[in-house]
Structures are given as C-alpha cells and as structure tokens.
Symmetry: C2
Subunit: 367 residues, 2 copies
C-alpha cells in the first residue's frame, strides 16, 4: 500500500493505492472526516454496483444512500446532474453530507461536480474503479460534465477528502480498458518520470497480467507524478498543462470519431505518437528516443486502426478548451522524462505529425 500526499493551496489530501481498500472504506473515511455524517451518498453505476456492492458495504455500519448514473459519456450531462441533485435533496442531504464517487472516470467527474455544487459544496471521496480513473481523473480536483458543444465545458475545481485506489477492483476491468488506462501511465513517464518509462518497458508482462505489485508500482508512480504537478499548479495556469501531452490530437481524434469508437486512453496513445513525431522533427527528442517511446506505446496496445483525414483532425484541434485567447497550446516532450508547452506549432507542422500518425495507424489490424 502506498500513500501519496496531494498538497495544493486550496486542499491537502491523501491518495491511497493498494489492495483491500474497498473492504475497509468506512473506518478509513471516518478517520479522515472525524465521523461518518448522517447522510452518506454513493454515486455509482449499475454494473459496478452489481460486482462490488457487497465488498463496498461490508464496512459501513449503516447502508449509504445509493445513486446511480447510467453508463456512457452521454450521461455525463447537466440533465443527469439535475436528476441526481434532486434525489439528494429528497433524501435529506444537507451541508454535512458526504458523497462517495464509486466508479470510473465519468462517475468520478459527475460525483465530484455534484459534491461541488450541492448546497454550494459538500465533502466527497473518490473510489475509482478503472485504471484510468485511478491514475488520472480521481486526482487533482477537476470535476464536471459535457455540453453538446464540447466535452468538460462545465465544472468546478473541487478536491476530494481522499482518494482510495483499490487495485483489487481492477480484477473485473476489461483488458482493453486496462491497456487504454495504461496510456496515461506511459504519458506520466514520458513527461516527468524516466524511471517509470523504464519500469513499464521492463515489466509489461506482469503489468498486463495484473500482478498486484507491478500494478501498484505503476499506479503509485503515475499518481505521484500527477500530484506533484497539481501541487505546483492547481488551476492549470502553467505547469499543469504538460499533463495534456498527447491530448491536443487525442481530443481531436475523439471528436472526429464522435466519442464512440476510441477509448480515451487509446486516443491519447495515438495523440502521443503524433506529438512525439512533432518533437522528433523539432529535435526535442532524438530518433532513438522516438523509437523507444513509440515502441513503449505499442507495447500497451494494440491501438485501434484509424480511418480519418489529417485535415479533419487538424481542424478539430482548434476547439480545444486549453486554447485561451485563440492561442494554440501544444505539449512537447523534451528527451525522456521532461516536457514543455509551446504556442508556435503551425497547422502545417501539426498536419505532418498527424499524417505520420495516420500512416502508422493504417498498419494496425482493423477490429
């Protein structure tokens, strides 16, 4: 078990990664919150609850009030939020209530947002059940939902009281989701942690076989990287931007495919390859570093084949939320374990990187 401290100007809390956390949740929360409040809400999804409710409930003296979010990105909406807020009000939720977000990234984002805006903010705890949510979305206080106009356009920064990343719950995670989630760990290594890159190169077998020790190591290292960045730049005004490595093209791919065929991590996998290609052209990484990192990404693939036009993808990068005042920001890796943000990437340069990525993606076996 590893505990990583997140220390930001607005909140300090622990992220605990390890096995068996789910079965001891209530006393763990009690230790942090002082006591369990009168109303404890759990936001989860029906499939997760069907698998894990027994383990979840084991440590609670009184059963919490369970709220369900339907699975799928389209339910990450203000309509869902309204429905859930009303359920909380009808169930007697007050300012002292606590919400536990128990599920993947969507449950975490919606649950955090509910906690951020219910009665102007109540306490919440993240219990992420996917690899991606454990290493990424549950840490850092970003919460929110989508609008029809774009993803994550609505939300708040609202930190949890604690995050419990139980490696045991990954047992039921589909293989494709594990692989996609591991892309965020690859990202963590490339931008900030050279030793994580090496570990993931050398232990891919154990990691993909879900060896608990290997997973804990990767998860803890990924969280530590993110916690360090978030601690230095809580509101994404500078350093935190580097967490978006691979995301400019990744988001464009998700948008161009209607958020249907690619998992987020898969889109980021391809996006990192495009960004690495751009970095190689600019000389911020060498050809051998490029080869090594591209191989690492494919080690945790296979990434799905893509049937898209480069121009369409480049056009789709324009709407990214990270562009402020019309400036196109781009995260460029520098060697292995470092990265910077540049603002001078031209559409031509970006298109060349996308063309490389698409050529590579054309060689992938179709589903």
């Amino acid at each position: 078990m590893q505990t990583i401290r997140v220390d930001t100007p607005s909140a300090k809390y622990d992220v605990v990664a390890g096995s068996g956390l789910l079965q001891s949740l209530a006393p763990r929360i009690q230790r942090i919150a002082g006591r369990l409040p009168r109303r404890v809400f759990v936001l989860t999804s029906a499939p997760i609850w069907a698998l894990w409710s027994e383990a979840f409930l084991a440590s609670f003296p009184e059963a919490p009030i369970v709220l369900f979010l339907e699975p799928g990105e389209k339910h990450k909406s203000l309509a869902s939020v309204e429905k859930l807020l009303r359920q909380m009000a009808r169930a007697g939720g007050d300012r002292g209530s606590l919400l536990i977000a128990f599920g993947g990234g969507i449950v975490g984002d919606v649950g955090g947002f509910l906690a951020a805006i219910y009665m102007r903010g109540i306490a919440y705890v993240q219990v992420p059940t996917t690899f991606l949510a454990q290493v990424d979305s549950s840490v850092g206080g970003k919460t929110g939902v989508n609008l029809p106009e774009g993803k994550n356009l609505v939300g708040c920064f609202h930190h949890p009281l604690a995050v419990f990343a139980d490696i045991g719950v990954l047992a039921t995670l589909p293989d494709r989701e594990l692989r996609a989630g591991l892309m965020e760990s690859v990202k963590a290594g490339i931008i900030r942690d050279r030793s994580l890159v090496r570990f993931m190169e050398e232990h891919a077998g154990e990691i993909l076989d879900r060896d608990a020790k290997a997973l804990e190591k990767v998860i803890a290292a990924s969280i530590r990287m993110k916690a360090g960045v978030v601690g230095k730049d809580e509101r994404e005004s500078g350093l935190r931007m580097i967490l978006n490595f691979g995301h400019t093209v990744g988001h464009a791919l998700e948008q161009a495919t209607g958020y249907k065929t690619l998992l987020h991590g898969e889109a980021i996998g391809w996006g990192m390859i495009a960004a690495l290609s751009l970095a190689r052209k600019r000389g911020t990484i060498s050809s051998s570093q490029f080869d090594r990192l591209e191989n690492l990404i494919h080690l945790y693939g296979p990434l799905p084949a893509l049937q898209l036009k480069a121009k369409k993808i480049v056009a789709a990068t324009g709407g990214d939320k990270k562009n402020v005042g019309g400036v196109r920001r781009f995260v460029l890796p520098i060697g292995i374990g470092d990265a910077g943000v540049v603002e001078d990437v031209s559409p031509v340069e970006l298109e060349a990187a996308v063309v490389y990525m698409l050529a590579r993606a054309a060689k992938q076996p179709a589903d």
Copy 2:
C-alpha cells in the same frame, strides 16, 4: 463614492458604491482585470436592458455579447443555466472570458454560478441593479440556482472580480422593491451596526425619497457590515450565520406562500419581527429595544398582510438549508447591533413568536 474592501481567504476585491458607475464600467473593469478579454458576456434581463443598455454600453470599445435571463424566480433554474452555458460555448467563450452580471439578485446568482462552472470557472463582475442585490446578494460570493425541492440548493462560492453598485440605476426601481430591499439594511443595523439603526430611524424620509447621499450612506454601511462578516467567515461555518437573522421564519413564509405574494425583503421583515419577539421573551433584547426595532421595520414598510397558520409556518422552518445534522439554528439579536446563533429554540417557543408576528400582520391593511 465609497469603496469597501472584501478580504476573504479565497479572494480579495472591491465593492464600489456610488453614482455614475455604469457609464464608466469598461475602464473600471480594465483597471482591475488588466485588460478587457476577447469575449465579454453580459447576463441581464430584458426589462433592465431596455432601460439601461445605452448607459451600460457607453464605455465599451466593443459591444459585449448579451445573454438574457427571463425575469422571475422560476427561471433561476438549472434549465436556464444549461441554456446560457451553451450560448456561451457557441459564442466562443474561453477560460479567459469575463462575465458581467447586470441585474437584480436572480441575475447575480445565476450569473455568478455560470462564471463559477463555465470551463471550471471564469472571472465575473457584479453590477447589481436592485437595492437588495446591491446591499446583499452581490457581496460574498454566493452563487446558485433553485431546485424544485428548495431554493438555492445548488451553487458555488465564487467571488467576483469587483462589484459596482450604481445608485443611479435605483431610479427606475419600483417603490415596493426599494422598501423590501431596505429590510436587509435594517437587518444589517440590528445585528451589527447600531449607528446604521439610528441613521435609518432619523433619515427615513430622505432614504425613501431616494436622496443619493442618504442612499449611498445606507448602501455602503450595509455592504461594509456584510463584507466584515464574510471576511471573517467566508464559508458560513460560524459568524456568517448571523446574516440569516430573520431568515428562519422569513424563508418559511416565502415557502408557505409559494414564493409568489411576498418579496424576499418583506418576508425577512416579518421574519425579523418574529425573531425579535423571541428575543424579547428570552430577554436578549429589552421591551423598549423591541419597540424601537419593530417601529423601524414598519417605517420601511408597509409589510403585506399575511393569512397563514402558525403551525404551517413552524413546520416549514424545518427544511431550512442552514440546518445541519438536523439541528435547528436560530439567529437571536442581542441588544441593538449584536446577534448570536442558538440551537436550542423549541418548536413551542418558535410558534409563540410566529403567533405574535401573525397577530401583528393581521392588523396590516390588505392589498
């Protein structure tokens, strides 16, 4: 012109109260924000915009994007919020955008909430156009909307960059709204500012005639009181509760009348009378203090007649958002200029206070 500094752990900003602010808004905002961003949004209501758009636009080099909220409490909803957020997204709003909430309390609450959650928070400025919004809701960072289950159940704490309370715009405010708004100033005096009580006793004529100097004095004193309290207790964990003087019964009256017949200030006026009656019985204020304060409230009336049952009102106090863990909190005035929060008010005691208030309200002329 008077400038009051709000100084909280999460934000520091100025509230400016005076005449002619509206005509010089853009340079004032520019001075605070550094520059006017590419996208400036104005949230307002059609009636306000019809009266004041010319003065508002006078100082802007480029016309801002105007968003409209339909008047009325029922539009203070998540449905309105979603519609407006989508308009902002379609108009190209980014993280650097600024929103100006130009209207009464509802526009301020909804505008602040839009700014709190659009792209996880953008900057905003409050330009309140009602007396009530100028002295109360625009200061302190509370934002939000209603649910069908209750008022203000959803929202955020999100402070504005600045508040500009232009006394000139009060010229078009209906007399009843001015009188209702002044109840919050009466409240400010009773709980925290004995000299404001005296000023309002001695200058009721000028204040109700909207003499600019008298209004500025009352508005600035009320804001100063609130800023002081909010500065000491931003999140309403202790001291800030005293701002709810008159609100336990006031909210119950609003709820019992379906938020239709009473203005908020009028409900608070009656609520203060109930609270004063309870305080007189407990001996925290003397009989002569009671008479003086009750007279002051009626000086800024007339408060509307009430046709309600005491038991119904007492029952309605139970659902107040300020009750945490089932504890009924009540703000009790202590002499003139001080107040405290007690948790031991019994339903019987509360009912006696409500009965007194209703007897007093029965003597009011009906509309």
